[in-house]
Amino acid sequence: MTNDILVYIDHFKGDPLPASWEAVGAARKLAADLGGSVVAVVLGASVSDLAAAAIAHGADGARIVEDPLLAEFRPEPYADALKTIAANAEMLIFPSSGRTRELAAMVAVDLETGVAPDVIELEVIDGQVIATRPIYAGKLLSKIVARDKRPLILALRSRAFPKLDADASRSGDIVTVEPEINAPKTEVKGYSDAEVGVSLTDAAVIVSGGRGISNNPKLSPPAEITDEKEIEVWKAQQGFKLIEALASVLGGAVGASRAAVDAGYIPYAHQVGQTGKVVSPDLYIACGISGAIQHLAGMRTSKTIVAINKDGDAPIFKLARFGVVGDLHEVVPALTEAFKERLQG
């Protein structure tokens, strides 16, 4: 039994999942408390550059398996490969993805050890690792520890842990391992495009626009549109484009208040509120929405509410965790850029 903390580097067609570096970062912090080395594990057809990237992001070294049977991710052959490598480790940490959930589950069975996905917090107390994860849709939190089986297998929620910046000067050994891998009984036939648009009721993030969306004196409509009402709607639609852009960067959906829908700015399908959909996202960003009770009824159980409104006295601020008193037409695009930098960089 070693005290290695293994970190599985998840990738899709050679592109690493950025959350993998967060897992390395989390492992580094654990290693500081527990001792032991942080060893990246990369599996695939040709992965030495991913291994090098892992070391640059903080791993002390890497173990790789390069095998044509691993060219396309399938959990069974990957688990065959990983179980040999992980057998003697203290911990095996994954970033979260559909792939890693299956893989972590299977390795846990192979090694007869425990696995906890969706970990949001890690602590070390008296040399013992305590992982916290949400249960009952986040209504409760559960702390998890390993009894006597090792490795402790964890999958970390994305963006819950900080990553170290890449430092090419970091060095470490990349060791190739050749475990026995059985050919899978399944075959990937192909891919089709990801779905466009997130359903409002399922979305983890919702950005909503209200009456204020049309109020942008800086906009000039095209010459063909002369009717006052049409100009108003046109301005609102430009405003909703800003909302859409922010929602897109955050991987969320677009919502609207009844006032905006009634005014014809956006279709009823986007309406959040008493009439309309009741939503409970992790993050609800209300732009130009005053916060009348019938709208609140539709979104008050959101985990975190951010309000952007010109009127500092708007009732929505009483419910919001973060507030910006300002013009949504300036703040929203600035927020989109700020997140683009931070999330896609």
Binding site: F12, M106, Y136, L140, K185, T186, E187, D193, V205, K318
Partner: protein, 260 residues
């Protein structure tokens, strides 16, 4: 085709869940079939209607945990079995997967096992993969469509919902599926089904019925379960000289607080 659906009994998702001294309670909210499992039952029934065969629902739980199974029967499953034994209390996924795999083995000659994506209480989403691994069968998780299935040639092709897009995968049978809600719209229990289900005697299998000697003891412990601290709804106003400065501050705060 012989299909097994593994269902779990969970509190109604509308329930107010609280914890006291590490014991979770949901008041008088009813226990229901795990909502994700309804999609699994529905898919199994559709495959059976197309291909012929039988659908059996199995569930691991305490003696009185029959709601989920009754619902599965009322939807149209041919039979339902409760696996229950005092020795099975306090298991983690290691033990549960071993028991469910043994259950599938006892049903015998199974072509397909279906799971819902996750259960709404524990929400780990790993049971399908673990049971598959124990049975030595392929696991197909996050299935959003069964494109084709053939009991005689023992093949199946599915579409899976990955973050990166939809993936088509073919596999041999027997296999284990876990399904997402995009796959179908679960039927309501029919009245005939309700009547049959409420009259049904659901057999109980104990560990000796399953023929498993020792169930893997839990590898994990849960020293504490607690409610998250109520966040103060005192609004933190973000200020700055320009929209860009405000946006930068707000984005940083949201990332700091792990809201994103």
């Amino acid at each position: 085709m012989k299909i097994v659906v593994c269902v779990k009994q969970t509190p109604d998702t509308a329930a107010t869940v609280t914890v006291e001294n590490g014991v979770v309670s949901w008041g008088d909210a009813p226990l229901v079939i795990n909502p994700w499992d309804e999609y699994a039952v529905e898919e199994a029934l559709r495959i059976k209607e197309q291909q012929g065969g039988t659908v059996a629902a199995i569930s691991l739980g305490p003696e009185d945990a029959r709601e989920a199974l009754k619902h599965a029967l009322a939807m149209g499953c041919d039979e339902a079995v409760l696996i229950s034994d005092p020795s099975l209390a306090g298991l983690d996924s290691l033990g549960v997967s071993a028991v469910l795999a043994a259950g599938v083995g006892k049903v015998g000659d199974v072509d397909l096992v279906c799971f819902g994506r996750a259960s709404v209480d524990n929400d780990t989403g790993i049971m399908g993969s673990q049971v598959a691994r124990r049975l030595g069968w392929p696991a197909l998780t996050l299935v959003s469509k069964v494109v084709s299935i053939d009991g005689s040639s023992k093949t199946i092709e599915v579409e899976r919902m990955l973050e990166e897009g939809r993936q088509q995968v073919s596999s041999t049978l027997p296999a284990v599926l876990s399904v997402v809600k995009e796959i179908n719209e679960p039927r309501y229990p029919s009245f005939m089904g309700i009547r049959k289900a409420s009259k049904a005697e659901i057999p109980v299998w104990t560990t000796s019925d399953l023929g498993i000697g020792e169930v893997p003891s839990p590898a994990l412990a849960w020293p504490e379960i607690y409610a998250p601290a109520k966040v103060e709804t005192k609004c933190e106003f973000i200020e700055g000289d320009s929209a860009e400065a405000i946006a930068a501050k707000l984005a940083d705060r949201l990332l700091e607080e792990k809201v994103i």
